[in-house]
Subunit: 149 residues, 2 copies
DNA sequence: AAAATATATATGTATATACATTAACTGTTA
DNA sequence: TAACAGTTAATGTATATACATATATATTTT
């Protein structure tokens, strides 16, 4: 559906303004789709994001700071997210002996299983191969990288 | 900055997955920039979005339902947002006499002034003319429109 | 080594969001 | 016209987020 219909706005100042708004609108749309996909598994998109990061490091641990560095949402409260995941026994957390300020966080077997189950469904959302070519996707990636000054 | 550096992830399964993640990450980035821009004016991005919608209708009123239809975030609680804006005297709200279930909402003079002041600064965020051509922006818009099934 | 500074994480708090439910009103149908 | 269904908006509640502050530990400076 065209963005004009989606938000019932016929005109935009420029094609650039339209693109700006389209990016925001589409990201919200993606977020809602992701929420729906994850709901049966009892986790939020942010929690999924943390699990994916932890899976990427498995079987190594990773510190809270490193998680924050890798997260899609710059401002999210990693500490509380990890606490939620721990309550669900999807991650383990222990104080780092070399630097007692730090905590070492690691995904559990349960966590790994959950990510594996979910990942497939999430990846369906990004199967753009029928819509654009790899070359175009590359261009779009370059563009997005450039607008974040 | 490249998305690989931004979230410290070297590899992606496909260029499409990278694009998917890039869209989410960039939208969050935009959101944070917008929050910073709006902060001095005491409103949130969602509240700004409502004000812009109302400005587009000015001097006509618009119902709560119509606001929801036009919002960028599908699930936002327009009713409470409008209440916040009313408290700041940026909008007026009154029950529609033709259909007493409905409310007519209208931006105030103060609201209009605020949007005018802010709009300029927000629009700086979407000045992509140095990064891509209008034709390319059109292509991206078409792509985004297509991924929202 | 004590004091000051820096770093890693956690917590407090106000506000926002997701989602279900409720309340008020309108329109339709039996 | 009474009962029912449909629509519009508001509210309740649990959870999430933004942002400031606190706590614990490590490092640097004097």
């Amino acid at each position: 559906m065209k963005i004009e219909e989606a938000i019932k706005q016929k005109k935009f100042k420029t094609e650039y303004q339209k693109l700006f708004i389209n990016i925001i609108y589409t990201a919200h749309w993606i977020d809602h789709e992701t929420i729906k996909t994850l709901k049966p598994y009892g986790i939020s998109p942010q929690q999924y994001n943390v699990l994916r990061i932890l899976k990427g490091q498995y079987p190594k641990c990773i510190s809270m700071n490193q998680i924050i560095d890798r997260m899609l949402d710059i401002n999210s409260n990693a500490s509380r997210l990890v606490e939620k995941l721990k309550q669900k026994q999807l991650v383990e957390r222990e104080i780092c002996e070399n630097d007692r300020r730090q905590v070492d966080i690691k995904i559990t077997e349960n966590g790994l299983k959950l990510v594996d189950m979910v990942q497939e469904k999430i990846d369906e959302l990004n199967n753009f191969s029928k819509i654009i070519s790899t070359t175009e996707a590359e261009k779009f990636n370059q563009f997005l990288d450039k607008i974040r000054v």
